[in-house]
Symmetry: C2
Subunit: 317 residues, 2 copies
DNA sequence: TTGTAAGCGTTATCAA
DNA sequence: TTGATAACGCTTACAA
């Protein structure tokens, strides 16, 4: 169109305070300018970060974010998703763990041809677009750091089995141990569920052993905090008697003393990247073409005060 | 209509998998079935609880929740609100502190005749519908509990000055002190901002004094955690050397050792009540009639292990 | 109680 | 480049 026409229209828009009606645009244009964010994560800080990240990208393009907690209210996946897909007809859905791996959710999304992006999904990374970080390498690097401090008997608290990242973090830990000639002692590995409570329970049995570990690496900060709590009650000083490392970089990691050495997950960045793939249409294109699409973002090892050199003569070895 | 007609229609709806299109309903019915939730709160647990509460009520009536963090991304109120009000045209908005008291936000909402509900607003409770708890009384009760343990030199860390609850909590504290013949010592009161960091700083100066308090009551759990952290670094044992009480009942309150004695705020319930007022139309009616409307919900004092009887011969008195 | 028709405020298509 | 016109899928008011 001609520049002066454009200017005249712009002036009119501003002058009359014209505001396009979203509902009308949606109805006529068959796009809702709405993106759904599904989660079922007990960690409010994770959810909050994801929202911030996604919304930041949404605002740039006039999109809005619809939040859908999954299990928080005892709702089953279908009853949450159906309205969002078939009534609201969101333009795309961002799935955070563990929803990223929920088979029924993925199936419903595929069937309805609703574009989606999986954040930190499990193995099947080819099933739909995804954004993630290298959890394996992060765990590997942290373990190498611990080994570098002289630790050999390193305990590990695994993440929730429903989360795709859990096996990757454990494998990274195990790989680093193997590469440095330290076999992973099965007695020093415990199952956790990403919660403080589960870390607490894991540590109780982990640290009660005669030959207890000199360091514990937990697959989440909340669990690491549970470990620290048990250590404190046992009279162990951190890091002198026990080194503790976490994973996430929760705000809580800075609230304890000593502050927690951990891995920073780029949560907001991953969510923003997911929104980007949805808004740009890349996710839709990839999905329709059945082609893989993913973005990997960088993590960061955050060294604080909860890890130190192993004592001269620890209990074991 | 006749029951059999109703049944026939229902069967058809189910059989054909009919899904009313939200955009079309919105356009024709001039209601969006969308509710906005505005917040600007550094505490993810608070935000998360509020979302859970609001969404729970929304789902019952086929509504969806649009989240709008305020300052988190450096956005100014108007640029966040305008699209939500004029483009999306949400049916109502829920304002959590400190947005509940933001003059520009309130003005824009009033001008656009968008129904809203303020959660825990400041003084001007007649300005629009609101839901709240009795912060004054909660602080009063907690202070009485502390006084009952024999504490007389009680420190207080105030909440963020922009939050309406802050003066109410302080006043409740001061009232209880006065009622029990203990003057509030200005040297034992510090300004905080609801964050761990601010509680930490407040405690540093509070506890460095020769005549330090035997108990500290912080207007939020995060600040109380900051106080506990300082105490730990100073070698003070809680609650033997210092009692600490918080306010909120964050998940974090259970993660520290000893666990924090605090006030449980009914955050999810308040958000649910706000959604209720919006969905039922009560908020709209009250707003249009210029009539007051508010709901008060119950708090709860949660006694855990961070408070104990005052030592036989404390530093002061 | 049921059926019919007229919008709702856009986008998209097609002529001009 | 511009203007006119038909959907889009509902709600609502009114007629049957």
């Amino acid at each position: 169109m001609r520049p002066d026409t454009r200017a005249r229209v712009k002036a009119a828009v501003a002058g009359l305070g014209y505001r396009p009606n979203l509902s009308a645009r949606s109805l006529a244009g068959s796009r809702s300018f709405l993106i759904g964010l599904c989660f079922d994560n007990p960690n409010p800080a994770y959810v909050s970060d994801a929202q911030i990240g996604a919304i930041g990208r949404c605002r740039e393009s006039g999109y809005h974010l619809l939040v859908e907690p999954f299990d928080a209210l005892g709702a089953d996946p279908a009853s949450v998703l159906e309205p969002m897909i078939f009534n609201v007809r969101v333009d795309g859905v961002i799935l955070t763990p563990p929803v990223s791996d929920h088979p029924a959710v993925l199936a419903m999304l595929d069937a309805s041809r609703t574009p989606y992006v999986r954040v930190s999904p499990e193995r099947d990374r080819t099933h739909g677009p995804s954004v993630y970080m290298d959890d394996h390498r992060a765990a590997y690097d942290m373990t190498v750091y611990l080994l570098g401090l002289g630790h050999k008997r390193i305990g590990f608290v695994r993440g929730h089995p429903d989360h795709g990242v859990s096996p990757r973090r454990y494998d990274g830990f195990a790989a680093a141990m193997a590469d440095h000639g330290c076999a992973v002692d099965p007695d020093l590995v415990r199952q956790g569920y990403f919660t403080f409570q589960s870390g607490f329970s894991a540590a109780e049995s982990l640290l009660a052993q005669a030959a207890r570990p000199t360091a514990v690496f937990a697959a989440s900060d909340d669990m690491a905090l549970g470990v620290m709590s048990v250590a404190a009650r046992m009279g162990l000083t951190i890091p002198a008697d026990l080194s503790v490392a976490g994973f996430d970089d929760n705000p809580a990691a800075k609230v304890v003393w000593p502050q927690l050495t951990t891995v920073r997950q780029p949560i907001a960045e991953m969510a923003a990247a997911a929104a980007e793939l949805l808004i740009s249409g890349e996710a839709k294109t990839a999905l329709e073409a059945g082609q893989p699409l993913s973005r990997m973002l960088d993590f960061e090892i955050i060294l604080r005060q909860s890890c130190g050199p192993v004592k001269a003569s620890p209990s074991g070895q």
